[in-house]
């Protein structure tokens, strides 16, 4: 996708590099449009094939979002369209206004975090494809 706002994107990436994002992303409730690919459902079994749960020591670039479109108007705060190419930093955090569950979980922040490696080394019972086996 063409980058319509290169300056803003560069700024967003710079912010991402610093691991810092504004917490000014607020909007009325009830607007979440998570699709099944990214929603966390109360009864759903987590899958380790999701990018966020297959990271090794470095979460960089592991967070992708499938549910954003490139036809949306620019975000009034960041000036971006919500396109992952614009909003995901190299570190894997979401630098635009979060609108889905996954984006909220991975929004850029200056809070401290420590990635947990969901790998076979740490979780030996993971299936070879990285999914979780059924419970006994």
């Amino acid at each position: 996708m063409p980058i319509a706002y290169p300056t803003v994107r560069a700024l967003a990436l710079a912010v991402g590099f610093l691991g810092a994002c504004s917490n000014e992303q607020v909007e009325p409730p009830g607007d979440d449009t998570d699709d099944p690919a990214t929603s966390a459902t109360p009864t759903g079994t987590p899958t380790a094939t999701e990018p966020g749960t297959t990271t090794t020591e470095d979460p960089t670039g592991t967070s992708t979002s499938e549910d954003t479109t490139t036809d949306d108007p620019p975000d009034p705060i960041t000036g971006t369209t919500g396109d992952p190419a614009e909003c995901e930093t190299p570190e894997g955090c979401w630098s635009c206004t979060p609108t889905t569950h996954k984006q909220h979980l991975n929004a850029c922040t200056d809070a401290t975090c420590e990635p947990f490696p969901n790998t076979k080394d740490r979780l030996p019972l993971l299936e070879d494809d990285g999914t979780l086996p059924p419970l006994p």
Partner: protein
């Protein structure tokens, strides 16, 4: 009486009876001047104790009585229409906990309180007609390790293996010792929330049922094999016991890094709960009998619950916002995200009258927000002065 209730009631009675010293008869709860009787989980008891003490200082004081056999009892009594028996607690104006006897024939609870939605409790398919749900302050749930453990984080997938398979079978080092895997039963709100987060049916959750929050702290904090010990409590209980246990940063499904409830491992700002980075949180829910118009039927219960929901103006002598914050819980006005399903999808929230700045100043001891004495001191993106700080609306 349903089979489930047949299992619950003796347990509740047994737990209630243990509240009073053996051989000592407590005064009847009904003799209190203005009792409002609640039942539910132990996680909310510290908050209710503080509120109960303050309720003595308001006009027309309320005697808050609470029995805490387990979160799910906060809804099951309404589902089955039975009465609660045994003993319960109430609190003096100075916060001293007292015990009273419920009638031998049982009492109808005026409200239930639990840290998850009632429909997640076993055997509760729907909230009964005539019972309404009112969300209250927010709590978060902490997976905890001993301060003698080197572990600092955990993921939902790791929880799935450890608590879904059992420590030994799950093979997630260092949590591989079954005798050091501490748990609760399926009536615990903490268990239900953490189980949902990891995708484990609550009834399949493994571990040793230690019974109470405090026993969980003791079991994990005083473990002789601290590296292997793992447990969970509400975060406010974990915060109160940071001298012996610490909260593990938690990495939810779909998340690329593990976060603490606070913005740092040692903070108290609950920023990651409030902005959606820490996934294990729930509002405390009140369940209350209502009339056909949705109004709480008992006028004293209506006052009490109304203080929490904002339906009733706060009386002098009840600094509820401060009580909620000081307890380690989060008022809704300090949240930036919300969810409609337990551990479900997050969406952005703009409270009608935000108090995030005040929350940070009181809970964490400081805030970057601008202090103010009135709206005239505020401008730009934060033009409204609330609780002494400039907020966005």
């Amino acid at each position: 009486m349903s089979l489930r209730l047949a299992l619950y009631v003796p347990l509740a009675a047994a737990l209630g009876l243990t509240l009073a010293p053996r051989g000592v008869l407590a005064a009847p709860c009904a003799d209190l001047p203005n009792p409002v009787i609640g039942i539910g989980g132990s996680a909310s008891k510290p908050l209710l104790a503080k509120v109960a003490a303050a309720l003595h200082a308001i006009d027309a004081p309320i005697d808050l009585v609470y029995q805490s056999p387990g979160a799910c009892f906060g809804i099951t009594y309404f589902v089955d229409g039975t009465k609660i028996t045994g003993t319960a607690n109430y609190w003096d104006g100075d916060g001293t906990e007292q015990t009273c006897d419920l009638p031998l024939t049982g009492a109808d609870p005026d409200f239930g309180m639990l840290g998850v939605k009632g429909t997640l409790c076993e055997g509760v398919d729907a909230i009964p007609d005539g019972i309404a749900e009112f969300p209250g302050p927010i709590t978060s749930w902490s997976l905890i390790a001993s301060n003698d453990s080197s572990q600092t984080n955990i993921s939902a997938a790791a929880v799935y293996f450890v608590y879904g398979f059992g420590a030994a079978l799950g093979q997630v080092a260092p949590w591989t010792v079954d005798a050091e895997l501490y748990s609760r039963n399926a009536t615990s709100a903490a268990l239900i929330a953490i189980a949902l987060g990891a995708g484990i049916p609550p009834t399949k959750f493994k571990g040793i049922d230690v019974g109470t929050n405090q026993a969980m702290i003791s079991s994990v904090g005083q473990s002789l094999n601290p590296e292997a010990a793992l447990g969970f409590v509400s975060t406010e209980v974990a915060d109160l016991n940071r001298d012996t246990v610490h909260t593990l940063a938690y990495q939810a499904p779909d998340q690329s890094c593990a976060y603490w409830p606070d913005s740092t491992a040692t903070g108290f700002d609950k920023r990651n709960v409030r902005d959606g980075h820490y996934d294990l949180w729930s509002p405390y829910n009140f369940y209350v009998p209502v009339d056909g118009g949705g109004e709480i039927t008992n006028p004293e219960t209506r006052r009490l619950i109304g203080f929490f929901t904002g339906a009733e103006p706060l009386p002098d002598g009840l600094p509820l916002l401060d009580i909620i914050i000081d307890n380690g819980t989060i008022p809704q006005c300090a949240m930036q995200v919300w969810r409609d399903e337990e551990i479900g999808p997050l969406y952005s929230l703009q409270p009608d009258a935000p108090c995030g700045c005040y929350f940070e100043s009181r809970a964490a001891g400081g805030t970057d927000c601008q202090a103010c004495a009135g709206d005239g001191d505020c401008s730009g993106d934060a033009p409204v002065c609330r609780h002494g700080y400039c907020e966005v609306i």
